[in-house]
Amino acid sequence: MAAGLTMARPEKKRSATFWQDTLRGYLFILPVVLGLLIWTFGPMIASAYFSLTDYRIISDPEFVGFQNYVDLFQDKAFFQSLSVTIRFGLMFVILSQIVGLAIAVLLTQKVRGLTVFRTFFYLPIIVPAAASAVLWKYLYNKDYGPINGVLNGFGLSSVNWLGSPESALFALVLMAVWSGAVTTIIYVAGLQHIPEELLDSAKIDGANAFQRFFFVTIPMLSPTIFFNVVTGVIGAFQFFVPAFIMTEGGPVKATYFYNYNLYEKAFKWLEMGYASAMAWALFSIIIVLTLMIFRSSPLWVYYEGETR
């Protein structure tokens, strides 16, 4: 009896309009899909193949297996550029979080002209990287740069910002922090989403401003910090334009970033196979670092409503 009661699944009949809409939808996304396939996945697959070849542009690629990856581990320049990038990344990520958060806190205060301040802090994002590099090169000029002018005004001696191996990397860190207004904007958004009642409750419980900031605001902001740290690390490993325009990897390789090394190998030495291997190594490094940060997140990232 029961078996005889099996109900036939109602057949869904698609109307002609449905299929037309579907087709239209696919047509609309086709340019983006094609763009991704041709301009993103295509080059990625090509570079994966080139990384297994000896390819010098002017001659055909010659398959060499994993030799380029083996060579990476014997290349002093590879480790030198990686070291510069890691040092830069550490300074940049830490400084940009501190500065970004500090400015975001200021930008969420209820003061007159707040939108004007926010616009000012957003401006670095719309300045093209090359233009800001040229601007900062002038600002950092040892002999007539305004930054040294200010230092001299306070009776301090000039700093050879970009000309000295000791200060060049830090100078680029400062510039990168200035350019990282996105961090500030994301912190502003994060701060605005912290429920007022939590802060009010803490206040009623007798927490002072310092305690409210460190025991309420920071934990509530930890997902935002997590996001900014991840994007900051990725951005640090992709840093290139200022080193290319302002220092050309110098002085004495003090700003010889991983990507500058990669650019040099690919477009100055025409070692496209080796440079492709470098690109995939960079991809792997970024993936590993990102995974490490993700894995560490349960220890320090708190999501609202989460119980521990």
């Binding site: 542009i57 002017i58 000309g163 191996p165 050309e248 002085p251 004495v252 100055k268 030495w269």
Partner: protein
């Protein structure tokens, strides 16, 4: 209905095919000429186009600007791979070998020898050598007699009470004068930054003569051994870098006087090719007195770098003979004289050596003859086999640049820096020449 469409389609296909056949049979209507832009070359470009259009008035010359501030080999190699090279392209001595190896340029000697209007023997041999690959062929038509000569700020020498350079001066004497200039005027002597940080100091045409002048060389004659760590080469490099690290007469790499150090009167000496006189003459009013002199001598004699830009017919030229008609205009007496009369270079033709218009050119520089006399001291950049680059580009260039940076900026010893560079270059030579 269907047959009507078919008929229209067939007619269209026939029309397209017929047009194609007609075009293929005619000479090209557009001639593609890729070249640099700027005051230093615009007149030469214009003269070539003008001379060509007198011969072929029906052909439109399409100028394709090249970004000559970057490595030209990248876009041209890409065009060669795609088969879309122009008919004629700009080149320079540094690109002669790589462009020939990459199949960008063609050997133009057969065209030159078959052309009754063209006399290759009238061109200075050492300049012609810049256009050869392994001593053969003609892969560039050179533009002018570009030998690096010494421009000096006469006013600074006089202000410091230093003797003016002469044709017999030695580098030791010049260095002594520079020390006086540094002490009295606080100005530097040797210009180091021409367009980038330390680029001029690391220009092969400036430092290789010091190596040769101390009996050294950069690479062995058979091209298999890097010689940067040989005692003679190191002695030359030491003497050269001492101008920065010991004598303090070279412009520091991080010293930016707000423009070209020589042009703004902050450096007393600029080693460069004749066409630079156009820029110095262009200072209006002239802020200081200046002149040129042949290169000072080193222990082994007088040596200076030489090289030039030029043009070449490409492998994709639609009609190579037509391209030859275009390119040969560069070495015509008219073009060569015009280049010189515009202070844009010195003539490459022996027959113009005594040309009264050229000899009688109004100064400054008063000693314009120095450019020609200096030709006897010219050396060309050494050729590196394999794929390690050259003194202009690639790994060899990077290693040497890094070594100069380490010595002059980083305070590393010449021995340490250049031995490391030598080892890296040797490793590359071993790897790529064995392949």
């Amino acid at each position: 209905m269907l047959s009507r469409r078919l008929l229209i389609g067939l007619m269209l296909a026939l029309l397209i095919t017929a047009t194609g056949v007609t075009t293929a049979q005619d000479e090209p209507s557009v001639f593609r000429f890729a070249t640099c832009q700027g005051a230093w070359i615009d007149n030469v470009n214009a003269m070539l186009v003008e001379q060509f259009q007198e011969l072929h008035p029906d052909i439109e010359v399409q100028i394709e600007p090249l970004n000559c501030a970057t490595d030209l080999s990248v876009p041209l190699v890409a065009q060669a791979a795609a088969g879309t090279l122009p008919d004629v392209t700009f080149t320079a001595d540094l690109f002669v070998v790589p462009f020939a190896q990459a199949g960008i340029s063609v050997d133009m000697r057969p065209f030159a020898e078959a052309d009754p209007d063209f006399d290759l023997s009238d061109v200075y041999e050492n300049m012609l050598a810049l256009s050869e690959v392994d001593g053969e062929g003609l892969y560039m038509i050179p533009s002018s007699f570009d030998v690096v000569t010494m421009y000096y700020n006469k006013s600074l020498f006089e202000e410091a009470g230093a003797p003016l350079p002469t044709a017999d001066s030695t580098w030791d004497e010049i260095i002594e004068s520079c020390k006086m200039i540094r002490e009295v005027t606080e100005k530097y002597c040797i210009l180091a930054n021409s367009g980038g940080t330390g680029d001029q100091a690391r220009w092969w045409a400036q430092y290789v003569p010091w190596i040769v002048g101390y009996g050294g060389q950069i690479i062995s004659d058979d091209g298999t051994t890097a010689m940067l760590s040989s005692p003679e080469t190191l002695a030359g490099l030491k003497a050269y870098t001492d101008m920065w690290t010991v004598d303090d007469i070279g412009q520091p790499f991080d010293f930016d006087p707000g423009g070209n150090c020589f042009l703004v009167g902050q450096c007393a000496i600029w080693l460069h090719i004749p066409s630079i006189m156009q820029a110095v003459r262009g200072l209006d009013p002239q802020p200081f007195e200046w002149d040129v002199e042949v290169i000072p001598s080193l222990p082994e004699g007088k040596f200076t770098g030489m090289g030039t830009y030029g043009f070449t017919i490409t492998a994709n030229a639609q009609d190579p003979q037509l391209a030859w008609d275009f390119i040969k205009g560069l070495l015509s007496p008219e073009t060569q004289t015009a280049i010189t009369l515009q202070y844009a270079g010195m003539p490459l033709l022996r027959s113009l050596r005594e040309n009264p218009d050229i000899v009688g050119l109004e100064g400054p520089p008063d000693n314009i003859e120095a450019f020609i006399e200096n030709g006897a001291n010219g050396i060309t950049p050494p050729y590196f086999p394999g794929e390690c680059g050259s003194l202009y580009a690639g790994q060899i260039n990077s290693e040497i640049n890094a070594a100069f940076d380490a010595v002059i900026v980083g305070g590393v010893s010449v021995e340490e820096a250049f031995t490391e560079a030598n080892d890296n270059i040797q490793a590359c030579l071993d790897r790529t020449t064995s392949e």
